[in-house]
């Protein structure tokens, strides 16, 4: 039973941590629900959940509009949870070249990447095996446990 996708297909995907969407704008809602569920599990508050969801929506919209589907015809999303950091990755087969900031504040284009950076603690863009990865991370805020006496 050979499979051109190899190892990745041999591991059953956990729907909480992996999602594949068609490169179509009507799929954005599914991508947002996936991000929102992960943010809720991680324990983010309402405002941060919305920020994570919006940043995800912008990244996936960008892949749909300007990128290209992976070989299976979809855009891949995945979640990585670490104790203090929640990361959502978006992988597509396009070549994402971030544009310089628009000089005109009233431009009607190119606002997505600026918004992503403002919404999450870290945005990482990388080129992996001919694919573009956009990784969005939210850090867990450390609440002050108590006032120290010394």
């Amino acid at each position: 039973m050979s499979n051109s996708n190899g190892l990745a297909e041999m591991v059953a995907a956990d729907p909480n941590y992996e999602l594949r969407v068609q490169p179509d704008a009507s799929e954005l809602g599914r991508a947002r629900d996936f991000a929102d569920a992960a943010a809720a599990r991680f324990g983010l508050g309402d405002r941060e959940r919305h920020e994570f969801k919006l940043a995800t929506s912008e990244a996936v919209a960008n892949a749909i509009e300007h990128g290209r589907a992976c070989s299976d015809g979809t855009i891949h999303l995945w979640i990585t949870e670490r104790p203090r950091r929640l990361t959502l990755g978006v992988r597509d087969a396009g070549r994402f070249i971030p544009k310089a900031a628009e000089p005109d504040p009233l431009s009607d284009r190119g606002r997505g990447i600026v918004m992503m950076s403002a919404l999450v603690d870290a945005v990482a863009l990388s080129r992996v095996d001919g694919h573009t990865h956009v990784e969005l991370s939210k850090h867990r805020r450390l609440t002050l446990l108590r006032n120290r006496d010394n």
């Binding site: 009507s26 405002r47 929506s57 009233l106 431009s107 009607d108 606002r111 600026v114 403002a118």
Partner: protein, 121 residues
């Protein structure tokens, strides 16, 4: 397979000067073309004072903000106006993050947007 309505765009005349466009639901890349076409068509019909009512919008993304900014510029160039109605905290936050929230006249209710409109014009 059931089809779920994720967004809706309606519009109506609100007096001699203002035309209201109510955009509801999830306003993203999927909804942006419908909203853009509606706003452009109304402008072409000479409705240059528009109020976009997002009271029932649950989500707005950068493409929709781009549509609104594009219309704001076009309407201003024609001597018209574009007012927004929104109270949803998440949607307001989206405008804030986009950095252009101050470019718009933002009102908490449609009644206030229309009242202001009538006193200004």
């Amino acid at each position: 397979m059931s089809v779920t309505m994720t967004f809706e765009v309606r519009h109506w005349e609100a007096g001699p000067q203002a035309h209201v466009v109510a955009a509801s639901g999830e306003l993203d890349l999927n909804a942006a073309p419908t909203l853009r076409e509606t706003l452009v068509r109304l402008t072409d019909l000479g409705r240059i004072d528009l109020v976009v009512d997002m009271t029932d919008a649950t989500f707005v993304d950068s493409t929709v903000i781009g549509v609104l900014v594009g219309r704001l510029k076009a309407l201003r160039a024609l001597g018209g106006s574009l007012r927004l109605v929104c109270q949803n905290e998440n949607v307001l936050r989206t405008f804030e993050v986009s950095g252009i929230d101050r470019a718009f006249a933002m009102h908490p209710t449609l009644a206030e947007a229309l009242a202001e409109h009538n006193t200004v014009r």
